[in-house]
Symmetry: C2
Subunit: 526 residues, 2 copies
């Protein structure tokens, strides 16, 4: 993963002429901002760890697994939000964790937490570094130093129960590695968020991740059957059975705990046999409301697609759903929807047929397989495009929320208006695109992509728009995040989300498992 | 609900000659124990509430809604476990709450909790009174008095969002009333636990209830989208969206809180349209292991029955699954399985066909519709039979657990051996029957019914067997309860279930929301 942009340098997506044309025409963006820094040019805030600290940490994990070098600190300096990427392009001093520690065992993590609590060093657990909410920012809180604890050595398949369809994976296993390890045995996890190629099992659990196949395989928190968490107060090993009535569900308390309660080392997960077949069909709807009603009918009938998503008119118009074709002649008018069906041949066929009947009865026109295959092919590509847009002088970011079906239209209008009006105030038109990416019987998520011109201090420009959008979500009763988590960026809205008493409960849990408050300060809990 | 037995006196089930024959032949039980007391014969522990307390409570809820009469106290003296029913037949002094209070508004509940905290009075929230784990026992803890707070006046449908399929129901709404209120609008909750006819929405939420249609409509905790809880520290209103990544799921912390964290007043629930059709098919398997493997294949394929259950050879042999036929000539050899399919005509048909194909491929023989319809007809009848068995001198009780598919056989053998050997030590053979009543992709629940002869102190006799069974569940790694909750009876195994740190977390939450500890003392938290 590049330290200052998304992913693999080989996979960078230069902007096509058609996209450049679109930017110039719609947003007045034409001047490249060649503000990318080489590592040599970056001013990194010096590490505050003393030699004694370095020795103390090395005594626990071994000398090879502690670093205070800038080259190791910078890649763990933050996540991959647009705000993060803008910071990485700054010629001012950049903050970074004061050290990087890469433990190899749970006992080493316990010793690290003991040491950090004793010495007053903050600890940020680190998986794939793909947070887009400031979840891994090197915040020191009341302490002098902060270390990044990288879980990459927890990278194995610890067990697989093929009968029950349960696997225990190490927290540092990445998405592709999970699929490879399970695939050797004919199994799959089926968790494909946009961060899939880099993010880790521990990170998915800590942030309540949700993947693009959630209609079929569920959110990551639905997949979790149990987990082991090392906290400063001891080890928690929760989740005994497929379901239980033995009191409050503590797995659900540590799912989404974002490194503030403990360091997740192992996650026990529901897995499924690699599907025999995948069936594809894309659809066109005359408008977003008709499409949303059709998706709702499918989900409430329970006809069971593995993937089901719907782009609005704007997103459809520029082919955002099929990233290789963005800006080309559009695939369809109206709104594009994608469906995939997986499982045994009989299962996928019966799901496809029932879903097709419901969609056709609700105003869909079939577009055949091709657009659905194109979507699948480009499904992890969008973040590369953002990097090119930033360099080309455009502001680009995404945000997401969820609400009930009856409130979807209100939420979409409110967030679009908030973004558009805030960016207009900064002096730029904005292209606000939206899709439904995750469906539930009672509602759905809305995922927004915004492209505008950079004006003035771009970070401040975006933060103003983001605040207005988050306020709008709260005002209309939606959640402030469907799958990006809270981190530092959404924390100002947590009291609105869970109330003062909810916050007091999170603080009480925090005080119990992390009495000195070393774990991921400044995140999640207001 | 009768104060000393299950349900409606009109629905009592006298034992048939065939059952009496079975009891005499298999268990040596023939002597009736005519130990049922009339209300006049019961010695109730006198109320410890002072006149000032009575006046203080009446000032909050009104004089009509406070009682210290034995006739009001006794029906809230405990739940409906066999241990409860044996207590109700005791000629020794029986404990009961010192008063019964029936608030009508959330403000009254807030005032009640303030008053109770100030005066040092314990509070037991009361719904339908169907706990089988001692969840509503009148435990005073460190206080002099305990009151039962009955939620029956919270009995309305507060809102219904027909588009999203979400309803807000008052905590005191019973199962049948929920179906009636929703049914007026063409909707159904689809939650049918054995306690359905008496238990309440608040009770279902507080205990993580699971109904017989859980394969289709989910556990009650799956249905919950949000809830309002009045705690001594304030009101909690959680659950904003169908799904969220905004930190730990606090709904899941209050689901299963068993009245120890607060009083649930409203629950927002997923509801569905009343199914167009219900399709029935019963099946026979040569043995339990074959049947379990077939159910597993259905669930892992995702072919979607609404109900799917499997009785073992013993339960099948005495027709326990179809309570009207118990002791008659058996419907089938081997093991009986029941499947139901609901929804639109097309949906139910496609689910039925796919499920049938999987079951037939895994060793099932169809028995047609009739046994499945008989099961549905008698589905709420079993508790009545237990009352008659107790009167006839037999010991009868149920218990339940859950584990992964690979561990089902081990769990079944271990619990059966624990019950059989403990009851043998007390001097009686035992009939131990078992069924799978709830299925998940990674595992299933096991529900045991035990019938034996009463020997010596029957309560002690059963408690010894129950302890051994619970120890066996812990030893083989199963959960101590799949849907009966913890209460007082399962509390000794909670540390084994969630660990010392898990317990410390529950205590920290408790101290935050109920700092004086008045709420349901002695339950859930070790």
């Amino acid at each position: 993963m590049k330290w200052d942009a998304w992913g693999d340098p080989e996979a960078a997506k230069p902007l096509s002429d058609s996209i450049r044309g679109l930017l110039a025409q719609a947003l007045g963006v034409s001047a490249d901002q060649n503000n990318i820094l080489t590592l040599d040019e970056v001013k990194v805030r010096p590490s505050t760890l003393t030699d004694a600290h370095r020795a103390g940490l090395a005594a626990i994990v071994g000398d090879d697994y502690v670093s205070t070098e800038d080259g190791d600190r910078l890649p763990r300096a933050g996540g991959k939000s647009t705000l993060d990427l803008l910071r990485r392009r700054s010629r001012d001093a950049q903050d970074a964790p004061d050290g990087v520690v890469i433990p190899g065992t749970e006992n080493e993590i316990t010793a690290l937490l003991d040491y950090a609590a004793r010495e007053g060093i903050a600890v940020v657990p680190f998986g794939g570094g793909t947070s887009v909410v400031g979840g891994i920012d090197p915040v020191r809180g009341q302490f002098e130093a902060v270390i990044s604890v990288d879980l990459r050595r927890f990278d194995t398949l610890l067990s697989l129960d093929e009968v029950s369809g349960e696997a225990i994976l190490g927290a540092g296993v990445t998405g592709p590695r999970a699929e490879a390890l399970l695939g050797e045995h004919g199994f799959s996890l089926g968790h494909f968020p946009q961060s899939f190629q880099y993010a880790t099992i521990g990170g998915f659990a800590a942030t309540r991740s949700s993947g693009q196949d959630s209609a079929g395989y569920g959110r990551f928190d639905d997949m979790i059957r149990g987990m082991r968490v090392i906290t400063p107060a001891g080890v928690l090993d929760v989740g005994k059975a497929p379901a239980s009535a033995a009191g409050p569900d503590l797995v659900e308390l540590f799912s989404g705990s974002e490194g503030t309660f403990g360091i997740i080392t192992q996650v026990r997960l529901r897995v499924h046999q690699v599907p025999e077949v995948t069936r594809y069909e894309a659809w066109s709807f005359p408008d977003f409301a008709t499409g949303a009603a059709a998706l709702r009918a499918v989900e409430q009938t329970g006809s069971g697609p593995t993937v089901m998503r719907l782009s609005d008119e704007v997103e459809t118009g520029i082919n955002l759903a099929t990233t290789d074709k963005i800006g080309d002649n559009q695939i369809t008018g109206g709104c594009l929807a994608i469906t995939l069906f997986e499982g045994t041949a009989e299962h996928a066929l019966s799901r496809h047929e029932e879903t097709r009947a419901v969609l056709l009865a609700h105003g869909a026109t079939s577009l055949g397989e091709e657009p659905a295959r194109l979507w699948e092919h480009g499904r992890f590509g969008a973040p590369y495009l953002r990097d090119s847009l930033l360099t080309a002088g455009a502001l680009c970011e995404t945000l997401e929320t969820a609400t009930t079906w009856s409130n979807i239209g209100t939420l979409k209008a409110a967030v679009t208006e908030a973004l558009t009006s805030s960016l207009a105030e900064s002096g730029t038109p904005a292209l606000v695109m939206c899709h439904i990416s995750h469906v539930y019987p009672t509602g759905a998520s809305l995922y927004f992509t915004v492209v505008a011109g950079q004006r003035g201090d771009t970070a401040q420009q975006w933060w103003a728009a983001k605040q207005k959008a988050s306020d709008a979500m709260v005002t209309v009763g939606a959640t402030i995040t469907h799958h990006h988590a809270v981190g530092r960026d959404h924390k100002p809205w947590m009291n609105a989300e869970i109330g003062e008493l909810g916050t007091a409960i999170l603080r009480a849990v925090k005080d119990t498992v992390d009495p000195t408050g070393i774990l991921n300060p400044g995140k999640l809990i207001p």
